[in-house]
Amino acid sequence: MKRFLPVEELARDERFIRSDLAEGFSDPRNGRVRDRTISTARLQPDRAAAPDRARSLMHGIFVGEIQALEAAGRTTFDFDDTEAPFALKLDMARQCWDESRHVEISVKLGEHMGTEIGEYTEATFLYEAACVTDPAMRLAGVNRALEGLAIDVFNTMKDFGQASGDPVLKFCEDWMLADEVTHVKMGSDWLRRLTERDPERRERALEFQRAVDKLFSLGGFRGETDESPIQIARRFRELAGFDTKEIDEIAGLAAESIAETRALLGKTG
């Protein structure tokens, strides 16, 4: 088996259909839909579209968990012991087990919510972020940016479970949230340790993390206002090793992106 498996070679059964995440984000209808919407973009149980949006999001979580599993697995294999010490690989192996459970939970939750595997498409952005060949960058992009996003998503879904009176959803999301905080913390710790004597390398890794974070702030997908369906989970991000400045930066990205989208649509804020 070769080191570094390109995204095109990810193995899937015939139920899975790939799509391009950027296409979805750059769909100009999204901005118009938001402008047309008379109230919040948040997931709220009293909105008619809420069940469908939650099911689609749940399927997105499911495929994201598969890729998180694959990405952590590749990190145990792609690097030799000088590039990635055994202790780091041990953490990644632990993450493999956690992500395996998350896939299992997601399959069961999907059934619970009335969704089938393959009902929605799969975007492979998470695994793509795991294709970088510097382990520090990979951990920044996957464990800090994307697993950080997972914290926000799970916390949002947990709140939705609570608000919609679905204790199964709330229960499952809370358990996954606990694991994700651990994964982000692993990312924070290893980023620091791997780049201890190389500030430039750390800066490159953080730059990559910011680029990934920005992608998910596109169109205000994740933010802190009513305009974002996914809400930033400040408390859990702090537990995972983000400082306030970093969280403010992510919140700022969302606000910037909403303004940019509005400008693109030729409207004023």
């Binding site: 990810l10 193995a11 598969i66 599993l69 697995g73 145990t76 087990w97 395996s100």
Partner: protein
């Protein structure tokens, strides 16, 4: 009333633990280091394969087992400093060149169609060998002096047995046609030949057997 002052033997009648054992400190450490090396290659391979197998259930099992073997390597490495090797990495070594060749062949399959080959290597060739070697170690080493290694191996064996069973069940569910039967046995045959040449996961004498001089190593048949 029990009289606590009355002398009792240090070993109760049912306690049959004995001295000495088959291994001295060096030999126990060498074996533990060889096990750790192979557990490492195994967890890395399982981790790498996750993205390459299309079968969803297999993917998830590989994710779980990847951690088991990484944890085994960690447990074994933790034992090394207690066996006079303060730098565990120095003793985390393959038993011989034959084991390196075996590990390379084990890890080789990559294509999405090769799930049977990947699983046969792990569950029909390697895990039966680790179960045998760990069992030999804990049966042969001194139950008093090397008790910490025995305890570690017992934890490992519990995983190995359960993982082997799970992997074997996956294989039985995947092997359905004459062509698949052929693939599975060919794969087992080629890997078996390599590990026989290596003498087992800890090298010659892994199970305490006499060391055979192999006349033609490529044939992998003892004299």
């Amino acid at each position: 009333m029990v009289d606590g002052r009355k002398p009792r033997p240090a070993f109760a009648p049912w306690d049959r633990r004995a001295l000495p054992g088959l291994f001295d400190v060096e030999e126990s450490a060498r074996r533990v280091g060889a096990y750790a090396w192979l557990e490492m290659r195994l967890f890395e391979a399982l981790g790498g394969w996750i993205a390459t197998v299309p079968e969803l259930d297999v993917k998830l099992v590989l994710g779980r087992h990847c951690y088991h073997h990484a944890w085994h390597a960690e447990q074994l490495q933790q034992r090394l400093p207690e066996l006079r090797e303060m730098n565990p990495a120095r003793l985390t070594l393959p038993a011989n060149e034959g084991i390196v060749a075996f590990a390379e062949a084990l890890i080789e399959p990559e294509a999405a169609e090769l799930t049977i080959e990947k699983l046969v290597g792990v569950f029909r060739v390697l895990l039966p060998r680790t179960i045998a070697a760990y069992t030999y170690h804990l049966n042969g080493t001194s139950t008093i002096t090397d008790a910490p290694t025995i305890r570690t191996l017992n934890f490992l064996l519990q995983d190995e047995f359960e993982d082997w069973r799970e992997g074997e069940m996956l294989l039985q569910s995947l092997i359905k046609t004459p062509e698949q039967i052929e693939r599975a046995s060919e794969r087992a045959k080629s890997l078996e030949a390599l590990i026989v040449v290596a003498g087992g996961i800890a090298g010659a004498g892994t199970l305490g057997e006499e060391v055979y001089e192999l006349e033609n190593k490529s044939e992998a048949v003892p004299e």
